[in-house]
Amino acid sequence: MTAPRPPRGGRAEVERAILAAVAEIVPGVARADITADKHLRDLGADSVDRVEIILSVLDRLGVREPLASFSDLPNIGALTEFLYERMGK
């Protein structure tokens, strides 16, 4: 039996990638406002911005994933968990 591959930098790496991507695409957002319970739209990101943020996060983490996988995630916390789980694969 093979042990599952350990996630690279853990949740903290995912969180850093999300913070950096949000800062790049919607620069006016204060870091303190980027909390797990918020959706990206709550930060003023429109649908085009949300695409850019997700693609930027995927690039930063080196993860390949269809955008459709992100359609139903309710908030940044769920986004973090989803990416953390994907990094383990």
Partner: protein
């Protein structure tokens, strides 16, 4: 299968008689103007109460047919209307269009539906029929035609929804676009990103739709590259034309696909590439709004009117329809293609649309809102529309919707722009 050239012989669009600046609609609805830069839309065509999917289709195709000789007209033996604005569950839009265009009775007449993708399915199936050689010299007329049924409930989608039609004559003398036969890529699966469950309203999930549009572009291009040796998104196509629900999605999709290019281009290189290969295709869509399945062909017309193709150019085309189905395909254009589209004077017709303010827009929207709703006997209203028709800046022959008798839709030819 024949290897003789096959493709689009003639192309024309009809994008209505009226328009509203997108900024005026934003102001009227109280939408956030900070969203305008990502929307990238300038104007929106507005339908009149006497316009519907049938009149849009006929008004797009009629000028194109008027330039054919009687033998060429008689060789149209397939008429396909593609629409998500059907007027009946059984009787096709094509049946009315066939009558109003005076096409030969030796003609297959059908309507197809797959949201904004279906016109490309029509073009490709028609091209395959022509290429089969089963009926030498046969031509097909494919018309993507729609009306917008969205209002303030659609929020930021409303300013980007257009109205109108694109008509493509498919045959073996492809003056406008010679298809690269066998060079196509497909990507389709079931999703509920947007739909029209009834004749008066759309439902849409903007994230799901935008994500599917981009996933499908990547997937369809991967399939294209599997079929076409050494094809690369960055280098194979001199120009690109894509389905344009709003121009900002085309920019976002281009950026997304350019992330797959190796070596990775810089952000500046991506922006320069977008300006060079895609902006010519966006000029008309930005002035009209989403034409649904006709949209990619409005983008092609825009490209041919705006880009320099005198030396010949390979164009990559991307068609996407919610639900969803998509295709990436390609063809070759040249100076003759540009000359053919120039004959349609599309830019002049767009400029001739009369401008309405927000108050008049809401009146027209209400007047057009029930054009897809079945009514046994709807009063004639072509005469009431006459003052509106006269405000169009170019005199032209026009078909208008004139009510129903026992559910049978009535149409009338008139003259617009005669003031």
């Amino acid at each position: 299968m024949s290897t003789a050239p096959i493709g689009i012989e003639a192309l024309n669009v009809y994008c209505g008689l009226a328009r509203i600046p997108v900024a005026a609609l934003f102001a009227g609805r109280g939408l956030d103007p900070a969203r305008l830069p990502n929307l990238m839309m300038d104007q929106k065509s507005v339908a009149l109460p006497c316009e519907d999917p049938v009149t849009n289709a006929v008004n797009a195709a009629k000028p194109l047919l008027d330039r054919l000789d009687p033998v060429e007209r008689a060789s149209i033996e397939l008429l396909v209307t593609s629409t998500e604005s059907g007027v009946d569950y059984s009787k096709s839009v094509a049946s009315y269009v066939h009558e109003q265009l005076g096409l030969s009775r030796r003609c297959r007449t059908i309507e197809v539906k797959q949201a904004c993708y279906a016109a490309t399915a029509g073009v490709q199936l028609a091209a395959a029929y022509v290429a089969s050689g089963l009926s030498p010299g046969a031509k097909a007329l494919v018309i993507g035609t729609d009306v917008s049924v969205v209002d303030e409930r659609a929020e930021y989608t409303e300013p980007a929804m257009g109205t109108g039609a694109a008509a493509m004559l498919v045959g073996d003398r492809p003056r406008v676009l010679a298809l690269d036969q066998g060079a196509f890529g497909l990507h389709s699966y079931e999703t509920f990103d947007s739909a029209r469950p009834g004749p008066t309203f759309d439902v849409a999930d903007s994230d799901r739709s935008l994500f599917a549009y981009i996933d499908c572009l990547r997937g369809a291009f991967r399939d294209y590259a599997d079929r076409v040796e050494e094809a690369g998104f960055a280098e194979t196509f001199d120009l690109l034309a894509m389905h344009t629900p709003f121009a900002g999605i085309v920019r976002a999709a281009h950026r997304a696909v350019m992330r797959d290019v190796r070596p990775a281009p810089s952000r500046q290189e991506v922006e320069t590439d977008f300006a060079r290969r895609l902006e010519p295709s966006l000029r008309y869509p930005r002035l009209v709004g989403n034409l649904c399945s006709g949209s990619v062909y409005l983008a092609l017309a825009s490209l041919l009117d705006a880009a320099d193709v005198e030396g010949g150019a390979r164009v990559g085309l991307y068609s996407y329809g919610s639900g969803c189905a998509s295709e990436f395909f390609s063809g070759v254009v040249d100076g003759e293609s540009a000359a053919a589209v120039r004959e349609a004077r599309i830019g002049d017709h767009l400029a001739a649309r009369f401008e309405v303010d927000f108050a008049e827009y809401t009146e027209l929207l209400a007047g057009n809102a029930r054009c897809l709703v079945p009514e046994r006997d709807r009063p004639a209203e072509a005469a009431r529309c006459a003052p509106l028709l006269s405000r169009f800046g170019i005199e032209r022959e026009l078909l208008v919707f004139n009510g129903t008798k026992g559910y049978h839709r009535q149409y009338e030819w008139t003259t617009a722009g005669a003031a």
